[in-house]
């Protein structure tokens, strides 16, 4: 059963990793604005040539 020491050690390290990741995200400002990104994804990435998306005009 001594393997438990190792397993618990692993689980704590893993959990600490997640906590660290959360703190990093928080410090990085990723949680500052939770609304705008949801609108941003709906916008087309590039408007390079909007004409190209239309079918060519037939004469």
């Amino acid at each position: 059963m001594n393997i438990l020491y190792f397993l618990i050690g692993c689980s704590v390290v893993l959990a600490l990793g997640f906590l660290g990741a959360f703190f990093w995200a928080q410090g990085n400002g990723q949680n500052d604005d939770l609304f705008t990104p949801s609108m941003r994804v709906l916008i087309e990435d590039d408007e390079e040539k909007p004409e190209n998306t239309e079918p060519p005009i037939q004469k």
Partner: protein, 796 residues
């Protein structure tokens, strides 16, 4: 000069307003004004017309295009606005009230296409903020703001913007504290399970290992996440008040001390999981309490509304001066739509001042040369020159902010239910704990201390501390859905406690726009056309309203048109001499008896009648008048008492209406009501109500557009929801009833726990079950009950 009539209604391609002229057409697209057209032109040059494909009419009307931003080149003002600057780049954040749709977002994040000196821009949609990083060698702040203005997104730059920077520092890291608490709580729970399920003899080494790990996890809980409670408890003891934080801090301290003691001495498993759960749930409650649903500023005062700088004439040249440096004797120039920032004497030009921000009055007032114009008005029409007679902070309006109502630190207004209860709760808790200790001490010292600590643990008012925030935040979101925006959760309780309602008249109980127009003249269609043609030449707001009222007509040729400032207009049309204007102008005598603003009309020197403008009362004024049985209602108005008769239907009591009230006397009136023991709710809309709003127990600003200016207050009510006010009041009372009931539920849990605790036989398992169970009950009860109460009141 005859224009062909616009038969079908066209709407502006940019902003969606009705087009009243056909002057502005580009590429078969109609625009309502030059401003809108120029935005389109800027965008089409840079190939950004996708802006119009995401939404129909994404723009906001831009009638005014002569904005001046040269004050931004003043380095002291610019430095106050810029967030960060190094040798190459600057970062600045603007508040842009026009942000409202995905097109705005798209365009503002593409600024780089218009000017490559902009390196990065990010919109925060809910806060309506734009964060920009730019190369300041190629683009200065003034050019950047002009760029934004050119595409129709003028940032709102106000004095408060500049000031807010300094008091934006205190930001508690509540989210981080919750994260740490959650992390520890989860781990401790797992490590405590083996103990609850029982460990066999040869597994005892694990027990100690788990115990020490638990202590390790409790350290960040007590030393980081829970510190706020100790700090608050100590402060409260210093101020000799007992609030709910005291028993909470006591509970946390006792829990951790006993846990460490039990584990170190191998006498028990300790209460590590209860401790972690307690702190975690408490912090979540705190988070819910702080959550705000709408990004509305409740702290606005005159500074957020006055400009940052004003133009003065010095040595025959105009130059911008920061408002703080504006002194007595300076000669200011105020252009169309600019705000007069200080009390001043009119020296030159035709002043037509819109005081709607101050009084709520929608119709501009004309002023004559030499007259004193009070600060806060907005000039409409041509540029005027004024001499400052009082500095900005000492003017008739702004000196209100020197009143003590504004210097009071924290609102010591009403004791909340929680505050009232927790005082007694703490005393009862401590007396039970000590009584038990004394009871056991002579017979069994160990048991005495066990019972003593167990009481403090089990009676820790976790559920009590959570009931208010969860109920209130549920209520807050319901109010929010009904366009009634509260500053924080405490306002709900104030709303339930008030017994007196004081209302401002203009703009509060009347609608903000003129929509009650009466034509008291017998005019033929031909004569109407004459009046229309005359008025369409004038830019005066009343002329505009008359034109809109008469509708789209053919415009006739006008000859010899003259406009006499502050009096009226006249012209020869189709062989008739048409005059429209004040009573003084048409009848030759002034008329002070009428309640309404009037425009008199004469054709060929024959008096035809008049057009009367009055503000209509908001829908639902009757509902509010019906509250008179349970609330004392008063009306305070800055106007003359012309409307007393009309208002009698809402305020039948003779002593309930007060006219000719100055901002200061409104404040004093509220104060005198409070001294008689009333709990006063003040409803107002303009800066002149600010004092009364601040002084009252609950100040509500009524506005037709929440993003527009509204004075500092506890709550903002959208004019559309004005009729729901009685329902809101009733719902607030329901909410309080729910809090009272959940208090009894949590008390029941405490009593159950206490019955175990006084015997000294509290097992860690009982505590670990009771605490989360009571919390879950309270949270679900309050949310469900609030939901049903809202349904009953038809708020959802």
């Amino acid at each position: 000069m005859i224009k062909s009539p616009v038969l079908e209604k066209t709407t502006c391609y940019h902003c969606g307003d009705d087009c009243t002229t056909i002057e502005y057409i580009v590429e078969e697209k109609h625009f309502c004004c030059h401003g809108c057209k120029s935005v389109y032109e800027v965008l089409s040059v840079d190939n950004l017309c996708n802006y119009y494909s995401y939404n129909d009419h994404p723009g906001v009307t831009r009638k005014q295009t002569n904005k001046r931003f040269d004050y931004l080149s003043d380095p002291t003002i610019a430095n106050d606005l810029i967030d960060y600057q190094d040798t190459r780049i600057s970062i600045v954040t603007f508040y842009i009230p026009q942000i409202h749709c995905s097109s705005c977002l798209w365009l503002l994040e593409k600024l780089n296409k218009i000017n490559p000196a902009v390196q990065y821009c990010r919109v925060d949609f809910l806060k309506k903020q734009l964060n920009i990083r730019y190369d300041h060698e190629q683009l200065n702040l003034q050019q950047l703001v002009e760029l934004l203005d050119n595409i129709g997104y003028e940032p709102l730059i106000s004095l408060q913007d500049v000031i807010k920077k300094q008091n934006n520092a205190d930001k508690d890291n509540l989210v981080s504290k919750i994260a740490v608490a959650g992390f520890c709580f989860g781990n401790v729970m797992l490590l405590s399970f083996p103990e609850y399920f029982g460990l066999s003899g040869f597994e005892q080494t694990f027990k100690h290992f788990f115990g020490w790990l638990n202590i390790l996890f409790c350290l960040p809980i007590v030393l980081y996440s829970g510190t706020g409670y100790f700090v608050s408890a100590r402060q409260n003891l210093k101020n000799r008040v007992l609030n709910i934080d005291f028993p909470l801090a006591l509970g946390i301290a006792v829990l951790s001390a006993r846990t460490v003691l039990e584990i170190v001495t191998h006498t028990g498993a300790g209460f590590a999981d209860t401790l972690c759960g307690l702190v975690f749930f408490l912090l979540v409650g705190k988070f819910v309490q702080k959550k705000t649903y709408h990004h509305i500023s409740f702290e606005r005062d005159y500074r957020s509304f006055f400009p940052v700088a004003v133009h003065i004439i010095e040595n025959d040249a105009e130059k911008p001066v920061p408002l703080g440096k504006l002194g007595i004797g300076n000669r200011m120039v105020i252009r169309n739509n600019e705000i007069i920032p200080a009390d001043a004497i009119l020296l030159k030009g035709e002043a037509l001042v819109d005081f709607s921000f101050v009084t709520g009055e929608a119709i501009p007032v004309s002023k004559t040369l030499g007259e004193i114009i009070y600060a806060g008005g907005r000039q409409t029409g041509e540029a005027i020159e004024l001499e400052v007679v009082k500095p900005v902070s000492q003017s008739y309006l702004t000196q209100l902010w020197n009143n003590e109502a504004f210097t009071r630190t924290q609102d010591k207004r009403m004791q909340t239910f929680n505050e009232k209860v927790s005082k007694y709760f703490t005393i009862v808790l401590l007396s039970i704990a000590f009584a038990t200790l004394i009871f056991w001490l002579p017979t069994d010292v160990r048991r005495g201390f066990a019972a003593f600590t167990a009481i403090l643990i089990v009676a820790c008012p976790c559920a009590l501390a959570l009931s208010t925030p969860f109920t209130m935040s549920a209520a807050l979101s319901i109010f929010d859905r009904n366009r009634f925006y509260l500053k924080n959760v405490a306002v709900v309780e104030q709303l339930a406690a008030i017994d007196t309602i004081v209302m401002d008249k203009t703009g509060t109980i009347t609608t903000g726009t003129v929509n009650n127009i009466k034509l008291e003249a017998d005019l033929t269609d031909e004569q109407k056309q004459l009046v229309y043609s005359l008025c369409s030449n004038s830019n005066h707001p009343l002329s505009r309203i008359i034109c809109r009222y008469l509708g789209n007509m053919d415009q006739l040729a006008v000859a010899g048109y003259t406009e006499i400032a502050g009096k009226g207009v006249q012209a020869h049309i189709n062989g008739h001499f048409v005059m429209a204007g004040s009573a003084d102008f048409i009848l030759g005598c002034s008329d002070h008896t009428s309640a309404h603003t009037m425009v008199h009309i004469a054709i060929d020197d024959r008096y035809m009648g008049y057009v009367a403008f009055s503000l209509s009362y908001r829908d639902g004024m009757k509902n509010i008048a019906a509250l008179a049985g349970s609330y004392d209602e008063y009306l305070l108005s800055g106007d003359q008492d012309h409307e007393r008769g009309d208002l009698q239907q809402f305020f039948p009591n003779a002593n309930s209406m007060y006219f000719n009230q100055s901002p200061q006397s409104k404040l004093d009136f509220v104060q005198s009501l409070q001294q008689n023991g009333s709990k006063v709710m003040m409803m107002g809309d303009g800066l002149n109500d600010s004092g009364a709003l601040k002084q009252s127990d609950l100040g509500i600003a009524v506005t037709d557009n929440v993003n527009n200016f509204s004075p500092g207050s506890d709550a903002i009510l959208d004019g559309k929801s004005f009729d729901k006010l009685p329902v809101f009041l009733r719902f607030a009372k329901d909410t309080i009833a729910i809090i009272h009931f959940s208090f009894f539920i949590s008390l029941t849990y405490n009593l159950v726990g206490l019955s175990y605790a006084v015997t000294g036989n509290l097992s860690p398992l009982t505590a670990a079950i009771l605490m989360p169970l009571s919390t879950a009950t309270i949270i679900s009860f309050t949310s469900i009950a609030t939901h049903f109460a809202a349904k009953k009141r038809q708020l959802i």
